[in-house]
């Protein structure tokens, strides 16, 4: 790449919008939607496969006592989650890793013919 172009692009990336009051007040949290890879009942955690393109990641979310686990609006025990469930999760960072605030089962990935990750 032309060095001058690259420099301009890098500098432009440093200009960031000032956060609004709402953004500043928001609690630190993140969210994802992905497929359950592991249901760990012993340590009460879910491992979720997610990513961008072919760059895949596994996020491990600890399930706390206050974590809301649901499917179609109803409570769902951790033991009823399965590998291949598609879940939407919100979570925050705590010492020792991520802790889930909410996990909602929204669909399912299947390997059968006709399967397709629909809710």
């Amino acid at each position: 790449m032309n060095h001058l172009t690259f420099l301009i692009l890098c500098l432009s990336a440093q200009i960031r919008p000032v956060p609004t009051a709402d953004q500043q007040a928001a609690p630190p949290h993140d969210s994802l939607q992905g497929a359950v890879r592991v249901v760990d009942l012993r340590t009460r955690a879910l491992e979720i496969t997610t990513g961008v393109g072919m760059a895949l990641r596994v996020v491990r979310l600890r399930i706390a006592a206050e974590t809301r686990l649901t499917a179609a609006g109803a409570a769902l025990p951790l033991a009823q989650f399965q590998r291949g469930d598609i879940v939407r999760a919100s979570f925050g960072t705590r010492p020792g890793g991520f802790v889930a605030y909410t996990i909602e089962r929204v669909g399912r990935m299947t390997t059968t013919k006709g399967g397709g990750g629909t809710p």
């Binding site: 790449m1 692009l9 432009s12 393109g53 760059a55 929204v106």
Partner: protein, 384 residues
């Protein structure tokens, strides 16, 4: 008045005849000046070579997009072959595929920077012993991919027949990303959008972080050793990522040049059943880019997964089993010298001959053609 009209008609026909068809690497016709400008600037990002100081690695397959996508022009194919690995457990409860994402998969990079080599003593990312298959992957040409991105999901799903209800032996089905969205890019159609395909390639192929993926990959699941990644994240800023995406999105598909023999071959292509999966044309939907909006793209794919038989089988990915592959788009096939996902075929005849599973019937019909018809079909493919 009539003479004036005839002159205007002759002039417009001359202009149309003189319009140079897009060459590989050219932008789509009909772009605005601003879109062309972004295309030109995006090519600079595409052609740039990264170094460890500007973001390369620590794990990487290539130093820039253009190192692999180079033949015959930026956006084309290349000689490089990379390595993907996954674990497939068909008897497992739930999903059978493990993409080994927790161990650095499914793309296991072939090169490391000097700093990572010094820290770990490795020359490439190790494939974990849990892998049940290692696949070779050639570089796809990406001409016309912006048009593929603009095809609505509903169009792709209209070709799906997962349970083969029409009993033609072909049961295309969609792949899905992990969040449930329909996939279409990649040899197993895992990736839903071109934007994600590009952003994922930055990190998976070059080890370059971007606003979408601001952290480096692990080394086989282990965090990077301290001091091995000197460039601050994101290593490619938003504007440069956007320009890169614009370049790829606005690349024109190769122009088809039909000869008389090729026209005959096109008819043979339909008659042998190749077109059942290699659907000749898909129609795009709405798009913020007028040149991509409501256009017919001669993609020769249905963007669905098909079982290609055990000989071609390698890794799983998402819903795709080891033997399932997305129908390879044939647009631009004339520009390639190696065929199939791993480049094992060096001629189009070999590639057809290696079709099995859902492609077996069409392959057998190809084998049964008279020599002249086979030649016409190949001549047709060489116009795409």
């Amino acid at each position: 008045m009539i003479r004036l009209g005839l002159c205007a008609l002759a002039l417009s026909l001359t202009v149309a005849a003189c319009r140079k068809p897009p060459q590989p690497g050219d932008p789509l016709a009909g772009l605005t000046a601003q879109e062309r400008d972004r295309f030109v600037h995006g090519r600079v990002v595409f052609d740039s070579a990264f170094t460890p100081a500007t973001g390369l690695g620590p794990l990487f397959n290539a130093v820039g997009c253009g190192e692999c996508h180079e033949d015959p022009k930026a956006g084309g194919t290349g000689d490089e072959v990379e390595r993907h690995a996954t674990a497939f457990h068909p008897a497992a409860t739930g999903r059978a595929c493990d993409e080994l994402a927790a161990k650095g998969g499914p793309v296991f990079q072939l090169h490391v920077t000097p700093l990572l080599h010094a820290a770990l003593g490795i020359d490439s990312e190790p494939v974990p012993p849990e892998a049940t298959a290692i696949a070779r992957r050639t570089t796809p040409a990406i001409f016309g991919f912006g048009l593929l991105d603009a095809v609505p999901d509903s169009v792709i799903l209209s070709y799906a027949d997962p349970d083969d209800r029409d009993h033609d032996g072909i049961s295309g089905r969609p792949n899905r990303f992990f969040d449930g969205r329909l996939g279409r890019f990649g040899r197993k159609a895992l990736v839903p959008t071109l934007r994600e395909f590009n952003e994922g390639a930055l990190i998976a192929e070059m080890g370059v972080t971007s606003p979408a993926i601001p952290t480096e990959e692990t080394v086989a699941g282990q965090p990077l050793p301290a001091g091995t990644d000197p460039a601050p994240d994101p290593e490619l800023p938003r504007e440069a990522t956007d320009l890169l995406d614009a370049f790829v999105r606005l690349l024109a598909p190769p122009e088809q040049k039909l000869t008389r023999e090729a026209r005959q071959g096109r008819e043979v292509f339909e008659r042998t059943g190749c077109a059942r999966c290699h659907v000749p044309a898909l129609r795009t939907g709405d798009s913020p880019v007028p040149a991509l909006r409501h256009r017919e793209v001669a993609a020769y794919t249905d963007l669905l997964l098909h079982d290609m038989g055990p000989e071609l089988a390698d890794i799983c990915l998402g819903l795709a089993t080891p033997s399932e592959f997305r129908t390879e788009p044939l647009m631009g096939v004339r520009l390639r010298s190696k065929f199939l996902h791993d480049g094992r075929a060096t001629t189009l005849e070999q590639a057809i001959d290696l079709h099995a599973g859902e492609g077996a019937a069409a392959r057998d019909r190809f084998r049964g053609l008279a020599a002249g018809e086979r030649a016409a079909l190949i001549a047709f493919l060489k116009t795409l």
